[in-house]
Subunit: 191 residues, 2 copies
């Protein structure tokens, strides 16, 4: 940030009075421009073949955009103003995977403080199999647990959420309920 | 937003290519300035007198700032970059109530889409009684359920979280575990 978005004059980086953090403050009009973390919201779209084969499959998207072009992810993206977290999960699942879902509750919250993000995933039931890759996906495909391309998952928040999910799924078949999972993912230090 | 924070030239409100929402886009350098919801994070600081009187008290702060000056709230505030949701809850509880807490898990997530906010509250155990009003609080005080000033609570997200909490607390005494609560708070339509 170099200029004030209110008046167009240069900003300085300083600690305002009654504050304890550096902020971008306009030299001219004094507006303080706060910067805050963003939410990335997604879903775990599940197709349950329990009756036929006992298998549960999850819908993944292969990314057509950077970062992590060509890697697999759960459908997810930045939450927009004037929507709820649930609406964001449904919208992103439609945009990236062309998939209609029924939300089944918030399932994971993962902090990624070094990129100023919080990722949230909902468990969801796929309503039909008429999904299709959106403009940000190369392909969209259902995976059983043993088919998940673990080495080609785009983001740690996605691989952790998938691991939580399949672990809970096994317990769920023995009668346990799905939990709610939180996790902090810190930047890996260099060796 | 009137000017580009990158180059200082005017911005226009338009739908960029491959997008479906109005964004502030710089007329000169083309930068798209996305605006996203902010997270407000707080805690429910609990002092448990179960052994002495069977009572559980919650710490509330009376606001010294607008909006809702003079009204009571749980300690909470905007999450900052480079911190986790848990760190934000602890920092805000220290800043507003001078209180040291141990977090006991994420407890509520409340969408407030018309103000572009998501509010999150953690259950927390007060570590001692050495709390004191911070610069944004007029006073800080412990309340048992029957003492809560329901008509003087600053925000619906706080009153709903307190109601969830005291309801769960009653069930908890009979052996149930505290849940995780989500809720959407829509703008009230005019009559």
């Amino acid at each position: 940030m170099n200029f004030c978005s209110d008046c167009g004059r240069p900003v300085s980086l300083l600690v305002p009075p009654d504050d304890n953090r550096m902020r971008h403050v306009c030299d001219h009009c004094g507006t303080i421009h706060y910067q805050n973390p963003k939410m990335v919201i997604g879903s775990i779209p599940v197709w349950d073949l329990a009756r036929e084969s006992g298998e549960t499959k999850v819908l993944l998207c292969r990314r057509a955009i950077e970062p992590r072009h060509g890697y697999w992810t759960l459908p997810a993206g930045f939450m927009e103003n004037e929507e709820t977290t649930g609406e964001a999960a449904q919208r992103e699942t439609m945009e990236e995977a062309g998939a209609r879902i029924e939300l089944q509750g918030l399932y994971s919250l993962l902090n990624v403080p070094h990129v100023h993000q919080v990722h949230l995933f909902y468990r969801a039931r796929l309503l039909d199999l008429d999904f299709a890759a959106g403009t940000e996906s190369l392909e969209v495909k259902l995976f059983a647990e043993h088919q998940i391309p673990w080495d080609e998952i785009a983001f740690p928040t996605v691989s952790h959420t998938l691991k939580f999910f399949f672990s809970d799924l096994a317990a769920h078949r023995s009668g346990a309920s799905f939990g709610f999972h939180t996790m902090d993912i810190r930047k890996r230090m260099r060796d």
